[in-house]
Amino acid sequence: MIEPLQDEFMRRAIAEMTLIAIAGGALGCWVVLYRLSYAAESLAHSVFPGLVLAALTGVPLLIGGAPAILLAALAIAAVARVPGVSREVAVGVVVTTLFGLGALLALSPDSPPGLQGLLFGDILGPSDADLIAAGMLVPAVAVGLSLIHGRLLATGFDRVAARSLGASPGTTEIVLMMLLAAAIVVAVQGLGNLLVVAVFVGPAAAARQLTERIVPMMALSVAIAAIAGLAGLYVSYYAGTAGGASVAAAIVVTYLLSLPVGRLVSPGGEKRPPAVATIV
């Protein structure tokens, strides 16, 4: 157990993973309750062209990713306003366009090798900038979620009634999406475009099986994300498997384990939301 900790790169990987797990686990509860799994996955994919451009031009990935996710969010809002186009269709159109653009850039003959790392991330080799970004993300998410907690709870419960309670559901959802976008841009450096959504959906979905209250759900979700993250990194260390994929696999395993455990702790567990569809 101690041996991996003697390696500097593992200590950094564990630090990065734990920070991402805290932010992802807490935000993930709202992703699951607001049924935003598809939106979360889509936002992650839409960052891709920004990351590729940043990698090609040599600027920090975060600087490429942030405008890309902003552009995606605005484009989704704009396309969804077209009469007859639902939000889901808008997300599909915008995300495939942006992801396709990213792939086009990444796979062109002029592109340097190694860009596929953007798809799968590099949790085992976080830069100082990655660690600082993740370190700043955690308090930002904690403060943000804490400030809008009451309104998030009321809006998710009944959006129409929330408006008459003065909970401004539109603003509340925008703040949630901004926090989610910030978290995805940071987490995507470690876990990659294709796997990052696991940390935003799996732990929260597992926690949902184990409790019927939001605050314990958030605490459990963070704990599950951190433990699964650690387990994934250890598997990667000993088995030589890819870091991000090992973490994602560990998260899926904890979700699957939560199903029978959830039924044991609460016989009424069958009424829970079907969050599994998005992660497996």
């Binding site: 907690h149 709870l153 009321a154 408006r163 309670l165 909970a167 603003t171 209250r213 939001i214």
Partner: protein, 251 residues
């Protein structure tokens, strides 16, 4: 506006995208008054409730709301698998008083606890909202509007889907809230129940009639409100009843 009126509407029209869904609505709601809102599905009951809440602006006419209104929606609309207790839901009523960065605190939860006691659910405060019965959920939402400190309660078909004991209990609660001086507006299809309340407003796009149930509810008014859906029972002295499909529907 009479000094004591909670709500007064005169020639009110309201709707969506500039097109009126309801028109010619004129009534006055006083403290302690239970007013039924009667009309077919799509007849504009929900539109009127939304106008009273301030969500829709009057297109023409006047609407003066002199007291805080709270809505008690149908509970099927809320997420029943949501991880909240009855107490959490009742405490949401405090949000309307709090600045945006504050969540309901201990004092608000105490107020929510009192309100749950008032609706007879003190014992079930810690129960998950979705596990309560339909009638209990409806009462939790009423408790939420009490925490909101609303003097006017707008109930959107609160009896739909309730069994008889739950209905009776809810009706008694509405009576108790009115006795405290609150105004209660209840969208419903149950004619027999309406006759026990203080006033009724019949709405089918435009207002058909308003007044005390015994004065207003004759066959002519009901036919104008519900179109041809009225069935007259032999011996009902022209009072008319609605066919069953008008019950338990959302408007």
């Amino acid at each position: 506006m009479p000094a004591e009126a909670l709500i007064e509407a005169a020639g009110l029209a309201a709707g969506y995208d500039g097109r009126p869904a309801i028109s010619g609505v004129s009534f006055c709601l006083r403290p302690g008054e239970r007013m039924a809102l009667l009309g077919p599905n799509g007849g504009g009951k929900t539109t009127l409730l939304r106008a009273l809440l301030g969500e829709l602006r009057p297109l023409t006419g006047e609407l003066r709301v002199g007291a805080r209104c709270a809505t008690v929606p149908q509970t099927e609309r809320s997420q029943l698998d949501y991880p909240v207790s009855a107490l959490d839901v009742a405490a949401m009523g405090a949000l309307s008083r709090l600045p945006w960065w504050r969540r309901p605190g201990r004092r608000d939860r105490e107020a929510a606890m009192d309100a749950l006691g008032q609706v007879g659910l003190g014992d079930l405060a810690r129960e998950t909202f979705g596990k309560l019965s339909g009638g209990q959920r409806q009462r939790v939402l009423i408790a939420r509007s009490l925490v909101q400190d609303a003097r006017v309660l707008l109930l959107d078909e609160p009896f739909s889907g309730l069994d008889r004991p739950s209905s009776e209990r809810l009706e008694a609660l509405i009576g108790a809230l009115a006795a405290e001086g609150r105004g209660v507006v209840i969208a419903t299809h149950d004619l027999e129940q309406v006759r026990r309340w203080d006033s009724v407003l019949c709405l089918n796009g435009s207002q058909v009639a308003v007044g005390a149930p015994d004065d207003v509810l004759d066959l002519g008014v009901l036919e104008a409100t519900y179109g041809g859906a009225i069935v007259e029972l032999p011996g009902s002295a022209g009072r008319g009843i609605l066919p069953p499909h008008h019950h338990h529907h959302r408007s």
